[in-house]
Amino acid sequence: MLSIKNIHARIEEKEILRGLSLDIKPGEVHAIMGPNGSGKSTLASVLAGKEEYEVTEGSVQFLQKDLLEMAPEERAREGVFLAFQYPVEIPGVSNMNFLKAAVGEIRKHQGLEPLSAKEFLKLVAEKSKLVELDGQLTNRAVNEGFSGGEKKRNEIFQMAMLEPKLAILDETDSGLDIDALRIVANGVNALRSPDRSFLVITHYQRLLDYIVPDFVHVLYKGRIVKSGPKELALELEEKGYDWIKEEFETAYS
């Protein structure tokens, strides 16, 4: 599904990703962990196509297509979804109009007929239940005045509406209390399927108790320095990142 090969990326003059490679197959859930500043969010931004990041080397193939050649909206239409770490508040734009436009664009791209108003509302009702999102929130302006938890639930709700092939969750758990975390994780788990893959970026192991990954990768200084099964997350939780850093420094010194 996704094949990242040796990418280097920088923002302004600062190189953040330094030769990252990763393969994700359909249906797999990969967790990316790592200390602050290791490049986790940069990876998410590069995959979603944020313009400030410049990829200087390497390639990303998504379903046999060159992802880096695509504009952000093309990536979304091809099936990439980024759940933002900091969802943007957009005053005056209603969640509903926005989603209707987004669903419309994606369906058009897939050669599907547009949904009728009734079908759309039915879909909204069904998907908002997944994350226990209040009907009133779906009618408000995009993220405006939402609590932190509501914003994250809204991200997962949008994901459910757009049905991506690859979902990237960028620290979706940060700042969530345990109830909100459970709701978000349940929403994600409900969307797991054999042909949908997840890249879960997190700082904390806690989220992975709820969204159980197939693989855990440790990102450090812009590279994946360790990969393992889900148990690796527990080890990291217990021992912290220092031993990884030491291993890395020894190997590269």
Binding site: V88, G92, N97, F98
Partner: protein, 422 residues
């Protein structure tokens, strides 16, 4: 004494030479006013950008043209300009001339609509050349009068159509709402094709004690049109006046809006949107004069400027020494969609009373990149994302227009011009 021979011809004299034989529609009812205006024209000239009030507004393009006053006999199709669902009494001007044959209004209603020969005095100070020109060469005068305690639920629609190349329209409109009366007026400005034309219209509104007047101005002419609006409003105690200035299209637009709060406990709202593009120019000058205590004024103008367009906002709020307990708020917010677009904005607040709540502010910026990226990351094209954000930006003002038919019409016209998201 021999009169000195003046060989120099002023710009104004040159300007009027092609229609100087035209008799002002005001001549019969107010010859003194016409006399005063003609005299003023001898000394007045088109303002240059050295005059503070016209610093960013070039009038030379109007001054150097040979305009004609044309009372077009031809039938004009008004159907494209009727506002769906408005159910209004319709008063039509073509090239500034009131056209009874195209209008559909009834004097049997609570409102009396009279053309020309009345005694409702018009008193413009002829403070600038545009006012003087209009009074000296008025094409038609329309008086709208609503009697004491009358409440008119259906609005009046005044439709200005510019129909001919090089036509200059100079209509005068007066609105007088007597004590406790209520009236809503929609005024729209269009041109039949994008021909060169100049509409110089004067408006006098008197809102008597406890009366309510709402005015929705929809300016939708073409790239080659020039439009000068002089709106002079007087409100008496407990009165309310709301105006929405919705500038959809126009090559050169200048709105002078002067509101005088002549009593206590008055409320007035001034809202505006303008979306110039290509080489369009839109200038909103407003003056709100708080002269008595316990009044509220609220002003919000929002602009979205694209291509090489230029916008001007100058809002003055005066709070006179007697106007204690005034609440006066003023805001102008703008978005520039291109590097070439230009916005000149100057909010001004002069307060001479000490127990007041006042604020003014202005922002001019670009579209929020993080919001754009967020929308695009959900599959919206760059164009759709920008339009969606533009829509949200101006919706703030459009939603304040408390007439659904007007709101719908304005949105439809903006969508038709590919400026808003459907």
């Amino acid at each position: 004494m021999e009169a000195t021979l003046n060989t120099t011809v002023s710009a104004a004299e040159k300007f009027i030479s092609s229609f100087s034989n035209f008799k002002s529609a005001l001549l019969q009812s107010q010859p003194a006013m016409v006399e005063r205006a003609l005299a003023a024209l001898h000394t007045q000239d088109f303002p240059t950008t050295r005059v503070e009030d016209w610093k960013y507004t070039r009038t030379a393009r109007i001054a150097h043209e040979n305009w004609s006053i044309i009372n077009a006999a031809a039938k004009v199709d008004i159907t494209p300009y009727v506002i769906p669902g408005l159910n209004a009494e319709l008063i039509v001007f073509v090239n500034g001339f009131l056209r009874d044959d195209l209008s559909a209004y009834s004097n049997a209603l609570d409102v009396s609509i009279k053309a020309d020969k009345t005694h409702e005095a018009i008193d413009f100070p002829c403070a600038n050349i545009f006012q003087s020109l209009n009074a000296a060469y008025s094409t038609s005068v329309l008086h709208i009068h609503i009697a004491k305690n009358k409440v008119r639920t259906a609005p009046l629609h005044i439709l200005h159509i510019m129909a001919d190349e090089m036509a200059m329209a100079q209509p005068i409109i007066t609105i007088h709402a007597e004590k406790s009366a209520e009236l809503e007026v929609v005024e729209s400005f269009v041109c039949v094709k994008d021909q060169k034309s100049f509409c110089n219209r004067l408006l006098n509104v008197h809102v008597d004690e406890n009366a309510i007047v709402s005015l929705h101005k929809i300016q939708a002419e073409g790239d080659h049109s020039f439009m000068m609006n002089e709106d002079s409003i007087h409100i008496e105690k407990n009165g309310r006046f709301n105006i929405n200035t919705l500038t959809i299209d126009g090559g050169w637009v200048r709105n002078n809006l002067n509101i005088s709060l002549d009593g206590e406990n008055i409320e007035t709202h001034l809202n505006g949107i303008f979306l110039p593009r290509r080489k369009q120019f839109v200038d909103n000058h407003s003056k709100v004069d708080h002269r008595f205590p316990n009044c509220n004024s609220n002003e919000l103008y929002k602009g979205i400027l694209n291509d090489n367009s230029v916008g001007v906002f100058n809002g003055k709020v005066y709070v006179q020494p007697d106007a204690q307990k005034t609440n006066a708020f003023q805001s102008n917010k703008n978005v520039l969609l291109s590097n070439e677009a230009q916005m000149n904005t100057k909010p001004e607040l002069e307060i001479y009373a000490d127990d007041v709540k006042c604020s003014h502010g202005t922002t001019t910026g670009q579209m929020d990149d993080s919001a754009l990226f967020y929308l695009k990351s959900r599959g919206l094209s760059d164009e759709s994302a920008r339009k969606l954000l533009s829509t949200a930006f101006v919706n703030d003002v459009i939603s304040k227009v408390d007439n659904e038919a007007v709101r719908e019409y304005v949105i439809t016209e903006l969508v038709k011009r590919d400026l808003l998201f459907v």
